[in-house]
Each structure stands twice: as structure tokens, then as C-alpha cells.
């Protein structure tokens, strides 16, 4: 290939908000109900029903806007987007076009070369989700479940500021963390509570004009996004190189087959005929309300990272892992507040917790043990009531069942034996039974020490305090 091409990418990210009820009716948003058990005349589009806006949706949307440096439109409105599709019972979606709640924001991301860049956010608007279509395997029909119909979404529309899959993923991770920290959504790509559509075009390097873009949908993981971007870039370059023209269209990605295909036929005119939604009155965000939303903003990750460095003097590596998930950061802070040493808390989270999560195939969001129990465990280990190996064993119990480590250690007799007399007796026996090792140690092979320590621990069923064992051994061997 003689020419060099640049990829230009913008994203439309849909995020399902963490409200208890739908955007325009009092139906539950809970996941997994039997089909149509969370429906009412409003969210099934029955004639004569009227939508009433959920206040919490406005607050979450504004909170995300503030956290992503957007201007919050103090006067905003809903609009009707008209289209026919069986998962859309009203034959229109209530969305925002003319006066979205947030505009002109941006977030800073790290680029693959270690630099920083800002990805602009064109707007964030509020809208409702559609129902779910299931193909009926037995008949020539599809089945519709409207439980998701009317679940509140925000759509975050970026500027075409990204140039690679790495930048796209950095941007998505940034958004995800901000929104998770706000508690506005759990942002799970694989469960659909965060969905990204990729707008992509290519142009010759150095050109300032944009090429024709396509929109790719159905991307359910970061890996799928990266693959779809690489594939679409190549597809467009092939078209251009062979003298063709890229067609502006919406394509659907099939991650199993690693290719995309155009989604809609030509008969489906894409003409949404938006107009102001007559059934909903405008939203005015007063100064008081704005200040109230702003005052509720939690400390976000970037601020936390700076503070952890200053306040706890943790290594960057630790900070990166702990703050990458709000749950871990919360547990860290609460445990430290209970008086535990920050670096020790960090170690339990970074090493053992991450290990157990991986081992059990769990997401960090699912960590459910209480900081009190972690603090107690750290204290037990610090006071040498239990040794390091026992502590790990107890931690797994805390991780799995959130047991009280003090009670657990007592009930299971896991306290270390620090009693000099008892330990001394055992170690004397071990020394007497292993003359070869003693000989090795006396001739300078100190490695044999480890063997004797191991034998002692075995005799003590793992409950000896290693420091005491070492001390007594050295004393008895005269080294």
C-alpha cells in the first residue's frame, strides 16, 4: 500500500441508568423478570397513556454531564423520533434532539504513546430504551418482551476525535469509571448496560477533510470493538484503493464471524421526522437544583489518584489498581479509616483480592466483604496472633462469606503459638531428629535452616509464628 491512511472515529455510547423505575412510568427496571411482567400502558404505548418524567433520570444525566465537563442546558426538552420497529410499541422513541441536557464537554484520555489528549463530547441526551425481540424457534414469528421498554438511557455522543482502537477503549474506560463512580450505571458492556456504536471513516494522512463514515453496531466487548475497528478500517481502505466510494450506512458486527454487514434495506427510509414531544413539559434546572446535583458529586478517579499519593503515599501501581474500581476504592478507604495501615490494606486488595477474583472468575464489583473484617484480619496478623499463611486462609473465608476473622480464628484454633516454652520444646526435638541438617548449618550451609523451620511449622500444624521459630532456632544452634 503506497498511501498512508488515518482512521477517524467518533462514538455514540448508550448507558442504562441505575434508576429503580423506568423513565416515564412506575414500572421496575429490575433485570430478569418473566416477559412483560414489568410493563404498563405507558411503556407498551397504549393509546391515551401519558408519560411522566422520572426526576432521578435528570439528576443522573446532569451528574454525568458535570463530571464530563459539559455545559448543562438549564432549559431542555424531549423530542419524538419516529420509526416503525416491533420492539418500539409507540412507533416513536422519546429522545432529545433540539435541546439535549448536556453539551460541549470532553474527557482526557491517555494515548498509547503515553501522552494525553481530550476527546470532545458533543452532547449527552436522555431517552428511552426499546423492548426485546426474541425469534420464535417454532413458528414464523418473533416475540416481544417490553420489560426493557422505557428503561432510561443516556446517549453520549463524542466528537470524531479518536484515531485508533486503543484511544477508543481508553475513552470508554474513562467514561465507564466516571459513570460507575457517580453510581449512575454499572456500565457492563457484556450485559448491555453500556453499548457503543462506532462511527468510522478513513482519510489520507495529512488531509483535513473527513471521509464518508459508517456506523457499526452490536459491539459487546472491548475486544469486539477493537476487532470491528480494524476490520472496518481495512474494508474502507480496500474500497478506496480499488477506486470505489464508501457508502454512508449502518452496519452490524458479527463478532463470531469477524465481519460486518449493512443493517437496513433501502426501503427503510431513515427519516425520523423529529418534533417536540407534546406529552412532556420542558425541564428547567434552576440554580438551586444544579448546585444540589453538583454538591452530591463524589470524588472521581482522577482526584482520588492524586489524593492517594499525597495522603497515603501509595505507589502508583497500587493506586492504579485500587482506583480502577469504585468498589475496591471504597473498601480501601473504609478499612484505612478503621485504623489499618494503608499499604497493608492495599496489598490485601491488590494481591489476594485480585487473585481470588481471577481464580473465581468474578468482577471486582462483586467484592462483598466488609472493611471491618479486613481491618480485624490485618490487626490479627500485625499482632502476630496468626501467621501469614493462616491469614491468607482466613482472608479467603472473608472474601467468600464475610466471616468475622476474630471469631473464626478462635473457633478453629488458628492462633499462632508464640509460647516460648512450647515452641522451644518442639524445636529441640526437631534439632535432635535432624543431625544431618544441623551439621550442614554448622558447615555454613544456611539453606538447611529453611528445612528445620519447615519441619517445625509442620509439627505445629502451620500455627507457629515464623519469627519466633527463627529466633529460637538460631539461639539453640548458636548462630
Amino acid at each position: 500500500m503506497s498511501k498512508e491512511y488515518e482512521t477517524v472515529i467518533g462514538l455514540e455510547v448508550h448507558v442504562e441508568l441505575a434508576t429503580k423505575t423506568k423513565i416515564f412510568c412506575g414500572c421496575s427496571t429490575a433485570f430478569g423478570g418473566a416477559p412483560n411482567t414489568h410493563t404498563c400502558p405507558v411503556c407498551t404505548g397504549m393509546p391515551g397513556s401519558l408519560p411522566v418524567l422520572n426526576r432521578q433520570v435528570v439528576e443522573y444525566a446532569a451528574a454525568v454531564g458535570i463530571a464530563t465537563n459539559c455545559t448543562i442546558n438549564r432549559f431542555c426538552r424531549f423530542d419524538r423520533k419516529n420509526y416503525f420497529y416491533p420492539d418500539n410499541p409507540q412507533n416513536y422513541q422519546i429522545s432529545q434532539l433540539y435541546l439535549p441536557i448536556c453539551e460541549n464537554g470532553g474527557v482526557s484520555i491517555e494515548t498509547p504513546d503515553g501522552g494525553k489528549k481530550t476527546v470532545g463530547i458533543h452532547e449527552i441526551h436522555m431517552e428511552e430504551d426499546a423492548g426485546k425481540l426474541v425469534h420464535d424457534e417454532w413458528g414464523e414469528a418473533s416475540l416481544v418482551d417490553f420489560n426493557r421498554s422505557g428503561v432510561p438511557l443516556i446517549e453520549i455522543v463524542s466528537e470524531p476525535d479518536m484515531r485508533s482502537a486503543e484511544e477508543v477503549i481508553a475513552y470508554l474506560e474513562k467514561l465507564r469509571l466516571i459513570i460507575q463512580y457517580l453510581g449512575a450505571s454499572d456500565c457492563k458492556l457484556n450485559e448491555g448496560s453500556m453499548r457503543a456504536d462506532v462511527n468510522l471513516s478513513v482519510r489520507e494522512k495529512g488531509s483535513s477533510e473527513f471521509g464518508t463514515r459508517t456506523e457499526t453496531k452490536n459491539l459487546n466487548s472491548f475486544k469486539a470493538i477493537a476487532r470491528a475497528i480494524a476490520n472496518e478500517r481495512e474494508r474502507q481502505i480496500d474500497i478506496i484503493e480499488s477506486g470505489g466510494k464508501v457508502v454512508q450506512e449502518t452496519r452490524r458486527w458479527d463478532d463470531a464471524k469477524e465481519y460486518s454487514y449493512p443493517m437496513r434495506s433501502k426501503e427503510d427510509a431513515q427519516d425520523y421526522r423529529y418534533f417536540p414531544e407534546p406529552d412532556l413539559v420542558p425541564v428547567i434546572i434552576s440554580d438551586e437544583w444544579f448546585d444540589e446535583i453538583k454538591s452530591k458529586q463524589p470524588e472521581l478517579r482522577d482526584e482520588k489518584m492524586v489524593r492517594y499519593k499525597e495522603q497515603y503515599n501509595l505507589p502508583d501501581y497500587d493506586i492504579d489498581i485500587i482506583t480502577a474500581n469504585k468498589r475496591l476504592a471504597d473498601i480501601f478507604e473504609e478499612t484505612v479509616k478503621l485504623g489499618s495501615n494503608p499499604k497493608k490494606v492495599s496489598n490485601w486488595l491488590m494481591v489476594e483480592t485480585m487473585y481470588l477474583l481471577k481464580e473465581k472468575g468474578l468482577e471486582p464489583d462483586l467484592v462483598s466483604f466488609s472493611p471491618v473484617n479486613l481491618a480485624k484480619l490485618i490487626k490479627l496478623a500485625e499482632d502476630r496472633v496468626i501467621n501469614g499463611n493462616v491469614a491468607k486462609e482466613v482472608f479467603e473465608k472473608i472474601f467468600d462469606e464475610d466471616i468475622d476473622p476474630e471469631e473464626y480464628v478462635k473457633e478453629n484454633g488458628l492462633m499462632s503459638v508464640n509460647d516460648e516454652g512450647e515452641l522451644r520444646g518442639v524445636i529441640e526435638k526437631i534439632i535432635a531428629a535432624n543431625p544431618k541438617s544441623v551439621e550442614d548449618i554448622n558447615s555454613g550451609k544456611l539453606k538447611a535452616m529453611g528445612f528445620l523451620v519447615g519441619q517445625t511449622m509442620k509439627e505445629m500444624k502451620g500455627k507457629a509464628d515464623p519469627a519466633s521459630v527463627n529466633k529460637i532456632l538460631k539461639e539453640l544452634l548458636g548462630i
Binding site: 412483560n36 397504549m46 416503525f84 425469534h135 418473533s142 427510509a269 420542558p282 425541564v283
Partner: protein
């Protein structure tokens, strides 16, 4: 009538509205739409440069619900509106994404 609706336009509007019109109905619809647009043009003769576009009749803002679940399982009732029902779902013509 000042506004003349072309065959292509009426075809396109038919697709958008999911309506299949006979030739006679198309002719009638062309006439009706033309006269509607004439009426709109009449309104366009007024100077509205200082008038805010109106989206709502009454000056009412901020009508909200609190985020509290008030609806239970009403699926039997809701599904009684379905022309056809199966396994608790609405049956629609076979549709692919």
C-alpha cells in the same frame, strides 16, 4: 393550488407511514397534502421573526415522578391487548435485527 405533490413524494410518505395506497387513493392524498401545505404557506406570510417557536400550549415546567416502583405485574391485562400472544409475549411478524 400552489403546492403540487409529486408521485415520488407520495410514494415516500407512504413508505414512512407504512401505508399501501391504491392509485385513486394516491391521487386523493396528493390533493389533500397540497392543500395542507398551501395552508401552512399562508401562516408563513406572517412575520414571526420575534416569536419563540411554541412546543407547548401551557407555561408548565418540571412535572416529575419520584423514582419509586408503583406498578406490579399487570402482564395478563397488558397482554390482553395483543392481537396474538405466546409465552407471555406479544407475537409479531418475524423480525431480524
Amino acid at each position: 393550488m400552489a403546492n403540487v405533490i409529486s408521485d415520488e413524494t407520495i410514494e415516500y410518505v407512504g413508505i414512512l407511514a407504512k401505508l399501501e395506497l391504491s392509485d385513486a387513493e394516491k391521487e386523493q392524498a396528493k390533493k389533500d397534502m397540497g392543500s395542507m401545505l398551501d395552508y401552512i404557506d399562508k401562516l408563513g406570510e406572517l412575520d414571526t421573526s420575534d416569536v419563540e417557536p411554541m412546543s407547548h400550549v401551557f407555561p408548565v415546567n418540571n412535572v416529575f415522578r419520584e423514582d419509586v416502583v408503583v406498578n406490579g405485574d399487570d402482564s395478563a391485562n397488558i397482554l390482553s391487548n395483543a392481537p396474538e400472544e405466546k409465552d407471555g409475549s406479544f407475537v409479531v411478524p418475524k423480525t431480524f435485527d
